[in-house]
Amino acid sequence: MRAGIRCVERKGLQGLSIEDVAQEAGVSRTTIYRYFPGGRAQMVEETATWEVARFWRRLARAVADLPTLEERLVRGLELGSQIIKRSTIMANLMDPELNELVSALQPAEPIVHQVIRDYLAELLADEAAAGRLRDGIDLRQAADYLTRMMISFLGSPAGWDLTDADQTRRLVRREFLGGIVRPTVAPA
């Protein structure tokens, strides 16, 4: 898989072939087919999914020591958008390749969503225990909402510069947590 990623970084997704990856990894084509009996399509799908999982694990690790959900979301958005901006794979993607990548990722999407949701539900439970949530918040539903927002913003920031800490904090306080977390200053 690492060899596959290096090949994609160099030549783009469309140029990816089993031969290249075998050469890069220093193994035979037969070996590659043993790992990926479905051939190139399976290799692309599994490699892409693996990369996505690695991306989210990296975010979770980076925010693990931060004290509040707000801090974690802000840092996660910042770091996530930096990683995506820097990613040579994403930057070099042409239209047809983007189509292929999205198709490859699609089967894993509900699972990714679920894993992030469960993670956020735990964080929300901590916030609730600390008395920081508004009354009547359903943890599972709120976690689902936050998951959608997180995925949506990392994919399509639509004008927000998430590498800017002030903007991101404002965004998180408002669109992410505005209805979930109690206002820190009581409304007049």
Binding site: L98, V102, R148, S152, S156, P157, D166, R170, R174, A186
Partner: protein, 240 residues
């Protein structure tokens, strides 16, 4: 909302969406629009993967060369134009509904419900969702969506502007578009934005409190493009 022309499950006549003129015409030329609409008809018939530029040209009744002159990069560009045209039509179709609302909550609920319904009733969309879900996502992915969100936000901000300052209306419009797309891509067991009650619960839980309390939450108010912020706090009392 597709003005009587298309009954769901009926023959695949192109949705006879009355073009509220201005909006779509401002986005592209009549020839481009003709090609964009021809693509939607082809997709509604046999899907995205099997639709070629040749098919689209034939359906539009113009030559392949002309299609490529209008859209040099081919099919992907035509798809983007089709989506833009549909977003503009969507906003034109729902703007009456939005104008009929008398408060922010109702306006947001109407925006979520009506746009979700408009999109799910579209023949091209429903074909793709049933048969080629991956191609729906491909065109709603990453930076492609930024443009759609921006367009939706600016088109809908007129209606929301009755209740919010302009730049905020734009932001909230994008926020709504984001939610609509998210629930279309990955439907939820708990939330159905096409159902008014469900959409209202989302608006009340996640949107309104943030809009009403924002002064209190964030007095310094850093934002991309600074706004003139007048009053000390909104007068709306917090919902219990």
């Amino acid at each position: 909302m597709v003005s009587g022309g298309s009954t769901p499950g009926g023959p695949i006549a192109e949705p006879a969406q009355a073009d509220a003129g201005v909006d779509v015409a401002a986005l592209m030329s009549p020839a481009e629009l003709r090609v964009a609409d021809a693509l939607l008809r082809c997709v509604a018939r046999w899907g995205m993967a099997k639709t070629t530029v040749e098919d689209v040209a034939k359906e539009a009744g113009i030559s392949r060369a002309t299609v490529y002159r209008l859209f040099p990069s081919g099919k992907d560009a035509i798809v983007r134009a089709s989506i833009q045209a549909q977003v503009a039509r969507l906003v034109a179709v729902i703007s009456d509904e939005l104008a009929a609302t008398s408060n922010l909550e109702d306006c947001l609920v109407a925006a979520l419900v009506e746009s979700t319904r408009f999109i799910t009733e579209n023949h091209a969309f429903s074909y793709l969702r049933a048969h080629e879900p991956e191609s729906v996502e491909a065109y709603l992915a990453f930076d492609r969506l930024d443009g759609i969100f921006g367009l939706a936000g600016s088109l809908v901000s007129g209606s929301l502007g009755r209740f919010l300052p302009d730049d905020e209306a734009y932001e909230v419009g994008v926020w709504c578009a984001r939610l609509v797309v998210s629930y279309l891509i990955l439907p939820s067991d708990d939330v159905d934005l096409a159902a008014p009650d469900s959409a209202r619960a989302v608006v009340r839980t996640y949107l309104l409190p943030a809009l009403i309390d924002q002064q209190a939450i964030n007095p310094t108010h850093p934002r991309p493009d600074p706004v003139v912020n007048d009053g000390p706090t909104e007068s709306n009392p917090e919902e219990p």
